[in-house]
Amino acid sequence: MCDTCGCNITPGNKHLIEAGGKLSHSADGKAAVEVLHGLLGENDQQAAHNREHLEKHGVLAINLMSSPGAGKTALLEATIAAMKDELRIAVIEGDLETENDAERIRAQGVPAIQITTGSACHLDAHMVHDALHHLDLAKIDLLFIENVGNLVCPASFDLGQHRNVVLLSTTEGDDKPAKYPVMFRAADLLLLTKSDLLAVLDDFDPARAEQHLRQLANAAPVLQLSARKGAGMDAWFGWLRAETAARRAAARKLRPAERFNGVFRV
């Protein structure tokens, strides 16, 4: 299932792959070295580098995460259709296979880079870096990174984004934040998607979903919307406008003062 993950190794098959020898201990010459390091250090360094690329150009990067089929691509299509004249948008698409999602985005007339992860169930900062080098960041205000549909792995890998938006669709059950706390704790915004289906699903309670999120000590705003019917989309666009404006203002502050080399004539 997953080459970069441990999920294909089970207690049942691991004897097949374990390298022969028993653990050997020698009493002599042992030295304990205290190291205390963050383990994902290499990914984090790459992520910081990605963030530098983005910030130099005043690009806001948003990492979209959800379980498969929660509506990430549909949300992007509707968002681009409504906002592409106002904001210059680009998308990085992560999927195990196929260019389908990237093609759906390109059909909206904005650049989309597809990362096909093959067997990995998440994007990492290195994959995103490669994709960034295929985009002209000087021509982008807002970069969406659609992560692989998965509520487990993606939360553990910093990509260099500024904000995490997590989608929870009404068909998945309102208790997902309690079941996947690592993912939902990382959310800067929770979108309850496919709200048009609330009428026929009597067991999804948006208030309960929000309560589960609060129990993770997460104060992130919660918005309900339907990409298909358009309901609730204005609040989402408002959030995007505020975040891109804040990112641009921060980039202006970063830029060194312009130097004037000419001669002033009064």
């Binding site: 441990g6 205290e34 963050g38 169930c121 000590a217």
Partner: protein, 115 residues
């Protein structure tokens, strides 16, 4: 479910420490992991023998110390234990809390043999 890639990152660091200390082999690697780290200790144990093959830690033992989950309350100031999906204050029940410990993924120590 990315435990093999975590193991590979771990071994890259272990190899670096081993090189810096002119070690002949690595006997033991100690990790500290919190319940909100996003890494399953059992899956990590399963992935470790595969990742260590062919490295200076080819026969190393992996020891995982699981760290407690603790939150500090912004309302009443109490520090209490919490569950991964209930990070509320154990004293007053408020959810405005801050995680003090529980999301760590740390390489704590390495035991090595010098030639």
């Amino acid at each position: 479910m990315h435990e093999l890639s975590v193991c590979q990152a771990l071994l890259a660091q272990v190899e670096q420490v081993a090189r810096e200390n002119a070690a002949h082999s690595v006997e033991k690697v100690v990790l500290r992991i919190g319940p909100l780290s996003g890494v399953e200790p059992r899956l990590l144990q399963d992935a470790f023998p595969i990742a260590r093959a062919g490295t200076v830690a080819a026969s190393a033992e992996l020891v995982i110390e699981e760290l407690p989950l603790t939150v500090r309350c912004q309302n009443c100031g109490a520090e209490t234990a919490a569950a991964p999906n209930r990070l509320i204050c154990g004293a007053c029940g408020d959810w405005h809390t801050q995680l003090i410990s529980g999301d760590e993924l740390l390489l704590a120590s390495i035991e090595l043999t010098k030639s």
